[in-house]
């Protein structure tokens, strides 16, 4: 079974995140870029499936030049090869355009399963797996907290608000995993050394068979028109408990008609 695992490079959630004043896209300058932590669970699950069922695992990531750092990190965890989708024309692409570019890139390799994290910690849209299943015309198995593969049949426990659903499909499929599924491994020293010589293919818009005008900010289906970086929350009142903390909260709730 051959798997492609998708990862995204995102600004560190601990950093001050902002949008560019020039074109209202994500500000990547001067911010630590890290692998989206939720994608590490997808990488781990891809490696476990390979250990159990054989085949290869390829990591695919889309983004600017420094995304190669994230691809090398994933290779050092034990993934076999990398694909880097990168092109200035992709800058500012929205979720739908991004899905189109990734679907086109997936068309350049053979795969049975596409694995992703449940969402990225920057945009948090949580729609890419669904968009890819739609564009690729394969089964959608999203929000898995457990996965089993038996021949061509994949069965997941899909996380829901009040429990889970058991969902079954036949390969090929797009599968997203939630963070409770496993505990991602750390790269070993040997893995880090081996990662340096693993193949990474770079694909641009022309390689994907897309026209430059189909992707990128100018052609996006949706557009950010205004950005307000100022946090509008007023600084509140903090009191020390003098044995009446509970009463003070009750007073506050009553005064503001919250109870």
């Amino acid at each position: 079974m051959n798997t492609v695992v998708l990862v995204k490079q995102v600004p560190d959630t601990w950093a001050e995140r902002s949008l560019s004043s020039a074109d209202k896209t994500l500000n990547r300058e001067g911010v630590d870029a890290v692998i989206n932590e939720l994608d590490e669970y997808a990488v781990e699950e891809a490696l476990r499936l390979k250990e159990a069922h054989g085949g290869t695992v390829t990591v695919l990531s889309m983004g600017p030049a420094r995304v190669t750092e994230t691809i090398r990190k994933v290779l050092s965890m034990g993934v076999d090869a990398g694909i880097h989708v990168t092109d200035d024309a992709l800058h500012g692409s929205d979720a739908i355009q991004t899905a189109r570019a990734i679907a086109a890139a997936l068309g350049t390799v053979g795969w049975d399963l596409v694995l992703t994290g449940v969402e990225s910690t920057d945009a948090r849209m949580s729609v890419l797996p669904a968009l890819l299943a739609e564009l690729l015309g394969v089964a959608q198995l999203s929000r898995a907290r457990a996965v089993t593969v038996d021949g061509q049949v994949v069965r997941i426990e899909r996380s829901t608000d009040d429990g889970y659903q058991v969902v079954e499909a036949t390969l090929p499929a797009v599968l997203s995993v939630v963070e409770k599924i496993n505990e991602p491994r750390y790269p070993s020293f040997k893995g880090i050394m081996q990662a340096k010589s693993k193949p990474v293919t770079t694909l641009g818009v022309a390689d994907l068979g897309l026209a430059a005008g189909e992707v990128g900010l100018a052609a996006a289906y949706s557009q950010v028109t205004e950005v307000d970086q100022r946090l509008d929350r007023q600084v509140g009142q903090v009191v020390k408990d003098e044995g009446d903390g509970g009463v003070k909260i009750a007073d506050y709730l009553v005064a503001r008609k919250l109870v």
């Binding site: 959630t13 729609v127 608000d161 009040d162 659903q165 929350r233 903090v238």
Partner: protein, 319 residues
């Protein structure tokens, strides 16, 4: 006037509150039409409630096995409706399944997608709160139909009774729509408390709660307020409370009228899931805890003293 389609969320024979909020928002854009999925008879039972909030049409997409497959059958029906009727917008709730439905409808019909709107203007401009509430943006869609998912509790549901007509929608499940089959549904923690994502009041516990047994203190306050119970990642990772109750970056995002955080330090991962709450109250032993930076009212103290006193005080005043 332009039509606005609203995907109806329902459970156990009742329309969910978020749908009433969506109908209210839809009325500022045009004339709301509600789309109901379920076995035959589902829509008729919900129609009066939908009409009370302004739905002039209830489209009944009904089939015995429509709920047996993940996402795709709903996409087939809604994409056909969007193509045929060209509504100005399709509004759905920001739930796990509906946002996936919305995304696939948008890409199949060539329309733009906006997720997690917390406000919506008459010209379809959506307000979104991003990076854990640190930045507010306004976004528009450039296509004929705007596909928009809205967070629960973003608008107040206001009744506006309308005369409603029930329209059956033909449903035929293609092989493609049957690719992902739901073979079993398991409810793990069904409680009498409101659902976390759409609750008006949420009481959450974190590392400071200290154990699974101690969560009873959090639950008592939740029950006194008719609230849902949430937990920080520290508490769910420790196994003190179910993962499904986790509020934060990697869990549920909530935006209630009132959020009470007890024993939660307020790391960015947690704040990302609750920072847009209207009123935030924090109880923590550590005066330096970052949760106090975003709290409207904070008490520095022991939650095991403060919370039971608050419960007692609420009971006394209700008295």
């Amino acid at each position: 006037m332009a039509e606005v389609l609203v995907l109806v969320e329902h459970a156990r024979g009742a329309v969910k509150k978020v749908t009433l909020e969506l109908l209210t928002a839809a009325r500022s854009l045009g004339v709301p039409g509600a789309v109901v999925f379920g076995p035959p008879g589902t829509a008729a039972a919900l129609a009066d409630r939908l009409a009370e909030y302004g739905a002039v049409a209830v489209h009944a997409a009904e089939a015995d096995d429509i709920d047996d497959y993940l996402v795709a059958p709903k996409v087939d029906v809604l994409a056909a409706m969007v193509t045929d009727r060209a509504p100005t917008a399709l509004l759905v709730a920001s739930t796990a399944e509906s946002r996936e439905v919305a995304a696939r409808v948008a890409v199949r019909t060539g329309n733009g997608l906006i997720t997690d709107a917390v406000g919506l203007d008459a010209d379809r401009t959506a307000t979104q709160s991003i990076f854990g509430g640190a930045v507010t943006v306004r976004s528009t869609v450039r296509t004929g139909t705007a596909v928009i998912t809205m967070r629960p509790n973003s608008v107040d549901a206001v009744p506006a009774p309308a005369g409603v007509e029930l329209h059956p929608v033909p449903v035929s499940l293609s092989d493609e729509a049957r690719r992902s089959r739901i073979v079993e549904r398991v409810e793990e923690a069904r409680s009498s408390r409101p659902e976390l994502a759409e609750a008006s009041v949420v009481v959450s516990g974190g590392r400071g709660v200290g154990s699974a047994a101690n969560f009873a203190v959090i639950e008592q306050l939740a029950d006194a307020l008719g609230a849902a119970v949430g937990a920080s990642r520290a508490a769910t990772d420790a196994g003190w409370y179910p993962h499904s109750a986790q509020v934060g970056q990697t869990g549920v995002t909530v935006s209630p009228q009132l959020y009470i955080a007890a024993g939660i330090s307020g790391a960015i991962q947690h704040r990302a899931g609750m920072q847009t709450s209207k009123t935030i109250i924090a109880i923590n032993k550590d005066p330096e805890a970052p949760i106090f930076e975003i709290a409207d009212f904070g008490v520095v103290g022991d939650l095991f003293a403060v919370v039971p006193q608050l419960v007692e005080e609420l009971a006394r005043r209700a008295g």
